[in-house]
Amino acid sequence: MNSLFEYVLRLGDDSLILGHRLSEWCGHGPILEEDIAMTNISLDLVGQATSLLGYAGELEGKGRDADALAFLRFDREYKNLLLVEQPNGDFGMTMMRQFFFDAYRKPLFEKLQHSSDKHLAAIAEKSLKETKYHLKHSSEWVIRLGDGTEESNARVQESLNTLWRYTNELFFTNEVDAELVEKGIVPTMQEIQNEWNATVTAVLNEATLTIPTNNWKQEGGRKGLHSEHLGYILAELQYMQRAYPNMQW
């Protein structure tokens, strides 16, 4: 297996699918400023997906470019986290999902910007700038909603309870990671998880939210075993490429 290809593909798919989910908000945000912010984050993620999937295609060496990887794979070939394909729900659900993701992506890109793989390091460095802003934005909303009104606290606590089960998968590792850690290309997930735990504990405490005690965990996305939601995302995402194959747009 081409481990670096697989690893970069995971990162690219996370950006692609979360960018897609956020773009569903465009025109429907709770306030105009947030409509703009969510579209902006979506745009950053689509940009990251373009860089990451483009590089993945190069690593694979079979002539597939970013678009071929984004639009022309089958469901079981996508390697994104289950978390990022979960439906938007209300604004609080979207912000909680974003917060869990950003709190993981920031330390990950911080480490990857020093990767011995120069191409990956460059993408990580650029993406880190965006991710720091995303994390600030999502943390602030989690705190605001958690410590806002009784209703907002109840709603966002419910979102936390719903999404908690998908957070363990953020730190999924298998032989791909082992090989790349060994080569010094990527950091260990333990480092990322420690930082994630610290960020999440601090923000959720400030938000007066309670971390669920159940340890019921869901995973599968990294192995291509997705929730039922991904199929519908792909049906929309791939519609044009499937309906009008081999055309330039």
């Binding site: 897609h20 773009s23 569903e24 465009c26 025109g27 429907h28 945000g29 709770p30 306030i31 105009l32 400023e33 947030e34 409509d35 703009i36 579209t39 902006n40 979506s42 745009l43 689509v46 940009g47 997906a49 373009t50 999937l53 970013a66 678009d67 984004a70 639009f71 209300d90 604004f91 609080g92 705190i143 605001r144 909603l145 410590d147 806002g148 009104t149 209703e151 907002s152 709603r155 929309e236 995402l237 519609y239 044009m240 490429q241 009008y244 055309m247 330039q248 747009w249």
Partner: protein, 315 residues
């Protein structure tokens, strides 16, 4: 005594306008000037916001990553224009929330073009090319509008609209040069959007109740029919360049005067859509109302949190 003062103020106001001196928020202005501007700028803001919906409809189905990013950026620009323009109405003493409520109640209008559905990807091209193209025709003269904040907002808006127009034309060009299916898709989009785009300039001069006063106040610099003519002059050659046919059997170039002559607009359709009977009027307003209702708890939470934080600070 008071009447004399008012007429003196009015004289000075008109003198400034005649000398192309900008009117600023704290300057004296006739109430009717203020109300005309609030009406026009808020309609413009609403058009930007409602206009996000027909294009937002294709973001999740954009055909490749580049098109997806460009479309996202374009719709985001429109949200930014809306924000700018709502702020401009606030400089005239309007309340943003009340202005938005007027949109939701149907009291305030927005550009009727957004009451037509976007049925295919080519509609993203047609909207950029024709709708943003028509918007530029309308808006470039507004950069010289007598009201300072509106004029300055328009300078930035027009720069971005110009980029939108080019990306739309680029989509159409790509399709027109593509496969037979793509070319047919582009022609179909032009067929559906051509007449509504011409309608964007408003009723003909004979039926336009606002034009004369607005021209005197330099809120408006050209009449609806002048701008519509200008749009046809610019756009018809572009269609020809990429091999598409403008759907107007009466369209012809008058060699004698060097201008295009075009067919009669279906004014019945125009007024029906203005009245709320277009294909998407209800969907668009429902979507905006729903966004506001669903976001109520978020806005309440943000206010409550801000109040708590302020209280903690002062404690």
């Amino acid at each position: 005594m008071r009447d004399i003062n008012i007429s003196e103020l009015e004289r000075k106001f008109q003198e400034k306008i005649d000398n192309d001196v900008k009117i600023e928020p704290n300057d004296w202005m006739p109430e009717e000037y203020r109300q005309t501007l609030i009406r026009q700028i808020s309609q413009h803001a609403h058009s930007e916001i409602v206009g996000m919906l027909p294009e937002g409809n294709w973001i999740t189905r954009a055909p490749n990553l580049r098109r997806k990013a460009v479309l996202l950026a374009k719709v985001q620009d429109e949200a930014g224009h809306g924000l700018y323009l709502y702020s401009a109405t606030e400089t005239l003493g309007a309340d943003r929330e009340e202005t938005i409520d007027d949109l939701h109640s149907g009291k305030a209008k927005y550009s009727s073009i957004f009451n037509y559905p976007t049925l295919t990807w080519a509609d993203m091209g047609a909207i950029g090319w024709l709708v943003d193209g028509a918007a530029i025709m309308n808006q470039v003269p507004l950069c010289r509008c007598s009201y300072g904040p509106y004029a300055r907002a328009m300078v930035r808006v027009c720069k971005e609209e110009s980029f939108h127009q080019r990306q739309g034309f680029e989509i159409m060009t790509q399709l027109a040069q593509g496969t037979p299916e793509q070319k047919a898709m582009a022609q179909d989009a032009l067929n559906r959007f051509w007449w509504p785009a011409l309608m964007m300039f408003g009723p003909s001069d004979a039926d336009s109740k606002h034009t004369a006063q607005s021209v005197q106040w330099k809120i408006k610099r050209h009449t609806n029919d002048e701008l519509r003519q200008q749009f046809v002059e610019v756009t018809v050659p572009q269609a020809e360049l990429i091999g598409l046919t403008v759907p107007d059997k009466d369209l012809k170039f008058n060699e004698a005067n060097g201008h295009y002559e075009f067919g009669e607009i279906d004014w019945t359709e125009f007024w029906e859509v203005v009245k709320g009977n277009g294909p998407c009027n209800k969907d668009r307003l429902d979507a905006r109302r729903k966004a506001k209702e669903n976001g109520m708890w978020v806005r309440e939470a943000a206010n409550a949190f801000a109040a708590k934080r302020a209280a903690r600070k002062s404690a």
